[in-house]
Every structure is written in structure tokens, then in C-alpha cells.
Amino acid sequence: MKRFAQLYSAIDSTTSTNRKVDAMAEYFASAAPADAAWAVYFLSGGRPKRLIGVRRVAEWAMAESGVPPWLFEECYHAVGDLAETIALLLPDHVAPHALLPRPLHDWVENVLLPLGNMSEDEQRQAVLNAWRQLDGTERFVWNKLITGSFRVGVSGQLVVRALARASNIDEGVIAHRLSGHWTPTAESFSALIEPDSSDADRSRPFPFYLAYALEGELESLGNPAQWQAEWKWDGIRSQVIRRDGQTYIWTRGGELATDRFPEIVAAANALPDGTVLDGEIMPWMNGAAMPFAQLQRRIGRKKLGPRILAEVPIVLIAYDLLELEGRDMRAAPLTVRRAALANICQCDDGRPERVSRHERSEGPALLLSPIITLQTWSDARAAHAGSRDHRAEGLMLKRLDSEYGVGRRKGSWWKWKVQPFSVDAVMIYAQPGHGRRALLHTDYTFAVRDGDALVPFAKAYSGLTDTEIRELDAWIRRHTIEKFGPVRHVEPVHVFELHFEGIQHSPRHKSGVAVRFPRIARWRTDKTASEADTIETLRTLLEAAK
């Protein structure tokens, strides 16, 4: 644990990416494989299912340190992080413990994971024991781990780079070995940095190649003839793998979702062995995309009955071919991969949505992502402006000669999203958040005006800075009209600009609409509640979105 805490400090105490990678590489090269495996797991964002509520841990810490709750809360406000507040308040060890230092995997496997199956009292004992055996930074890291809030400024890609640096194995190979169901054991770690690259696990997807958001002008991309545009679909990015007579569907979230999409499996079973497609899983009916909410509805079902299958049919819109006849195609230029993709899908590379327009919902489950050819950048602008008509969230721009890279790289793939919907709304309810923000009011409900009344229509909990959150929290405490459990009804004073990606009719909501991905764009301190948008604004947006 001490070494892992030191690694944490080393990463945390530098702003240089290179020094972070060096620190990790050094750790991976020298730590025991069982520990290194867990380090890989946690550093790349792995999190065991929530083990203990952070509130509970805070209560034990107050008791252990003799700090009254109000003072604990003041401390938390000053620190801004619960795990750290607790680590700073716990009393120093009375006497140095005589126990042998315990390695990371021992802590995780024998103390942390069992916490999930313990009674509250056993949990408390286990956590207090841990605190008494650990020092400063170790306690902090431990608190983060048991409350599921361990975060350090590295991405999965940096972990891959560090592993590559430590093992002298290509980054792509490491990333490939890590994707999918990787379990943090000594054996998997050793296999991860094993020089032999004939990977046995045939179900493994390739790491997804990700695009950056377009920043500058289109013209900065150079000659439009060297680019192709496609719709940016709002579904579930997935790889469909056909190897050794088996089909696998992996989502970008690292989930093996084969049995969730029988339509795609049926279509993929016809693919030749040694094929990997990259595409978007979309709800699709009568040749057109359905709203994302429908896909969510289907995912929410434990069992896929005939009714939901008929109501929300699924397709894969394929846009890339990563493996052909067992060969890794990722280094081939996009044009070559695309031609092979069209060939393998047995589509003529025209406009498959047109081909399938007259089909019923039982139409083909494998579609080719249509290409929008660009003569000029104005063509791209025109297409972009029409994105919503296709239920797309914008355009993808890909260089024709681009390879399929690893992770997120700047330069050859760009995503160009349409402007989100925007509404100025009034905050009317607030409630405490989760995790490190459990003591602050961070979840808000927003309303639009309807005559003299306020109609709630969206909840959002992201988009403000820490300072704004604290300022707002202090205000909320002083301007509560009514409390319902943790929820506070506050004076309708503050106006926020909300952005969201989609809007649709919803009889279940008082406002009659449901919005997708609502988030706070900014705090409109320049506006009063009487200047907020009205229900009419929402209705107009709804009409426009149809």
C-alpha cells in the first residue's frame, strides 16, 4: 500500500504527463504482479461496486477524531474532498504499529472487497483497523478506494503508455490485451506484459479509436476532397466480432453485450470468420433512427420479450472494418477499409438508408454508415445544419488516408457536434450529491415559467465550478422554503442556462417534455427569475425537433 500511495503522490504532484507516465512505468516494472494488476485496475478508472457509503465513513471518522459534525462540515468545505478531510482529521498513531506492511493486493482482496458483504458494525471495525495501520497519504488513498472515488489525473491511455514503457511492448498490443473483460490478477498482469503476442482470447475487441471535438474552422483541415463526412450517430458505439464461428458484441464502455442485440448477432453470423466491425448500435424503424430514449427503454429491460423487440428494433450502422480474414486492418487507409467493409456487408456503397427506406422494421440489421461526399466545405456546413433531421448529433470528419488509431489522437478524425438546445431556467429544488459531494447541494431541478407558475422540466448536476457550487450551497441553506427529506424547495431566484441534446414529448412529465443530457452551461447572474424562458420556448423547441 505504501508504494501505491507513493505512486499516487508522484502522479499527483506533477503537472507533466511525461513524469506521470515515468512514475507509473517505474511502478509497473518493479511492483509484484499481484499489486501491479490492481494498480492498473484502479489507475485506469476501475471501481469495485460501491462498497461503503461515504457518509458512513465520515461518521466513523468524526467519532475516531472527536470532531463534532458541524466542525467536520466546516473542514470539508475548506478541503473540498471527503476522503482527504477524513485523512487530515484522523488522529496520529499513538505508537508505530508492529505489523508488517501489507501490499496493495492484500488490502484490496482481503480487506476492501469483503467490505461489501459485511454488516455495518463489521465494516466499521475493518475501516478503523485499516486507519490504525495506515499513514497520511495511504489513509487518503484508502478512503478514496473504499468509497469508490479514487481518481488521479491519468487516462487509460496513459496507463497503457506506461505499461508499454515498462514492458517494451507496443502500445496497441497492450491496449488490445486490456480491452474487454480484464481481471486484475497476478496472472493477467503477467500476461499483459508477456512478450508473446499470440493472444488466445478471441473475443477481445480492439481499443476504440476516438475523435476529438473540432476546434477551429473547417478550412484549417485543408482540402475537403481528402476527407469524408458521416453522421455522428447518437447510439451505442460498439464492435461486432466474428471469430472462430462465434459472434461477440462489445460496447465502448467495455461491456460484452452480445445477448442484448439478437438482431445484430443474427446478421453477424453470416459474416466470414475473422471479421471485426466498428459501428453504432441504433434503434431504427422504417429506415430512420428512433430517439435515444427508445434505446434506453430497451436496454432497461431485463428480458427482451417479442413486444420490445418489435417496438424498438436495433441495427448496427457499421463504419469501419478492423479485422478482415483474421488480419489486423487498422494500419490500412480508411478508403481501403471502407471498400472492404462495403464488400463484406454485401451492400453497394450508396445510401443504405435509402435502400432500406421502404423496409418494415424487420429490415436488415447491418447497415453501412452513409458517406457524405464533400466537394467544398460548404457541403459539410449544409449537411451539419441538417443533422437533426437525421436524428444525428452532428458530423464525423475522417481523413481518407487515416489509419484506425489507438485511443484519442488529434489530427485525422474529428467530431463536429451540432449546437445543443439551450434554455434559461430557474432553480427550484436542490439536493445533496453523492460521493465526495455528499455534503453539498449539487443536484438541482430547474423550471420554466408558465404564466405565474413554475413548471419543473429538467434535473442537472454538472457544469458549475467548485466555487460556484459552494456559493450556491451556502445560498440554498439560507433560502430554503420547505424541506422534503434531503430535497430542499428553494426560493426561485437563480437562473441558469441549461443545455441539452434532445427534447421529446413525454406525458409522464408535468412539463410535457423530456430532455436528454441536460447540463448547466452557466449561471446567469445577470438574469432574474422573471426573465427565464417559458413553457412556450420548450414547446417551440419540441416542434422544431420533430
Partner: protein, 340 residues
Amino acid sequence: MLQTTERGLYCSAADVYIDPWLPVERAIITHAHGDHARWGSRHYLASREGGRVLRTRLGADANIELVDFGESRNINGVSISLVPAGHILGSAQVRLEHNGDVWVVSGDYKTEPDPTCSAFEPVRCNTFITESTFGLPIYRWCAQEETFAGMRAWWAENAALGRASLVYAYALGKAQRVLAGMLDAGIGPIYTHGAVERLTIDYRKSGVALHPTSAVVAQPRGTTYAGSLIVAPPSAAGSTWLRRFGDLSTAFASGWMQVRGARRRRSLDKGFVLSDHVDWPALIDTISATGAERVWVTHGYREQVVRFLRDKGLDAHSMASHWEGEDEQGPAVADEEAIA
């Protein structure tokens, strides 16, 4: 005996102000930090130990009367004396006694030993006016030996990589404490920012032993700083002044470095916890050591400390100061102005 006025803390019996923030006739100054020693008063009374630094801060024309620690002055029946506060060179608590009633104004203080100034002495009193800069239990200082050892190790690691090390430290007090902590550390020349160098000279002339220093401004063009240690005020961060040092690792020596977020916000490579103020346990211990039945809390986490003391049964009050929300950064900014 004391009351707050718009000019500052005032003793009407003796007609003097303590650390007034507006010009007055007679001012007693606890120490030379910018939020305590303001210009423009007719007459100043301060400790002899800090005389030289105060002169630098207030200018050649200021009318400053110096007294030794423990030496008492009688003004209109009020017996006034200064007692070491352990904060920076010359820092004093002000003890006032009138008809058997004793008040002590702490100014800024710390109880940890510090080779650059006289050690804090607790004084029994009826009313204690205390600072509360770090008045939360998250602020518990580690032993300063640990901090200095960490600083040396950090410098050595950077030096081995041919990198310069730069510590940000408040120009008055903290910078000199760092220089004293680095004595005999086997570090070559320590370079200083002009703001630090000037006060460092004052400290040496006042008889404080510090690591040898050399002002950056005095170095010839093309001087290489690889492997050296540089001490600069926090205001130098982000300035073009840093360019000359080449590959550089930066650190900040301050009590605020106790909290990770404070370090990260400044994007520093390292934060060293080193404070010239009392931490929470020392604050609470000191208050009880004074035996005071009444406590006024100023300068920092006032409301929190007041509530904690009241829960313990003390008659505690919060005393607003002109420097609302001020922290160690306040004086630092003033430091820069004073020697510009």
C-alpha cells in the same frame, strides 16, 4: 479596555491603537507584515528585535520608538508591554494591564520553535485576542524537521537531474525561515528574489544566522541555475522572471499546502507544509494556557473557532478586522508593495 473602531483596535484609557489600518496619533505594532504595520501614523511603538525590518517597511521618516520584550510602559495608568509572539523576527503580543484587568493581543503567532525569532511566551490574562488563520482541525503541522528534510531531498533530486529548484515563500519571515532551515544542508549558493534579499539582509544585520544568499538580479547574464535553490515571493509565480532558470521544479512553503487542492490550484510540483501561524492543536492549547475567561477571535476562521470555544464553555466572540478573509497571502501582497 479595548474596543474595535473603524481605525482599528483602540485602548481609550491609554489613547493608543494596536495595528491600526488607518493613520492614528499613537500606534503599537505587533509585527512588520503589511496587514499589521500600516503607514501614516504619527508615532509607532514596536519591539526592538524587529526594529530594522519595521524601518524597512515603514520608511526612513517614520517615528518609531523601540522597546525590549518585557519592558513596560505606563501610559495614563495603563501598563503596556510586549511579549514575543514567535511569528517572525520582532513579532510581539501586546499585554495591557489596567486596574488589575489584563488583556493580551496576540497579533500573529506560532508556538513552534523558530531560529529566526524569539520564542512565543504564553501570558496569563483575562481577555485574549487571538488570530485564527488556521483555525480548523485539518491544520495540524508535521514536525518542521520533516518539512526541511523533504525540501532538501526535493532539491537533491532536482539537482541530480540538472534542474533548478524554486521555493515560493513570503518575503518577510517565511523566506528567512527557509534559509535558516537550509543552513548546513550542503546546498551551494541559494539565489534570492530582490524582495527576499533585502529583508534577508535586515535579518542578518539583526543577528540571525541564515544560509548565504545571492540576489538573482546581481548575477551576470548567462548564469546557469541548474542544480541551485532559489527563494522567491509567491507573486513571482507565472512571471517572466522565471524564464532565466531553465528547467525548473517549483514548490511553495506554506501552511495552506496542508490541503492538496491548494497546491493543485497553483500547479506546483511540490507543497511544503511550513507555517508561521499556530495550527489547530496549538491554537486551542494556547488559548487555554492563557487562562483567559474571555476570548476574541480575529483574522481567519473566526466563526468556527468561536463556536468551538463556546461549546467548551468559554465566553468567545468574533472580532471583525479590516482584513476580512485575509490569509497569509494578504501580507505577502503588502510585502511586495513595501519594498518595491
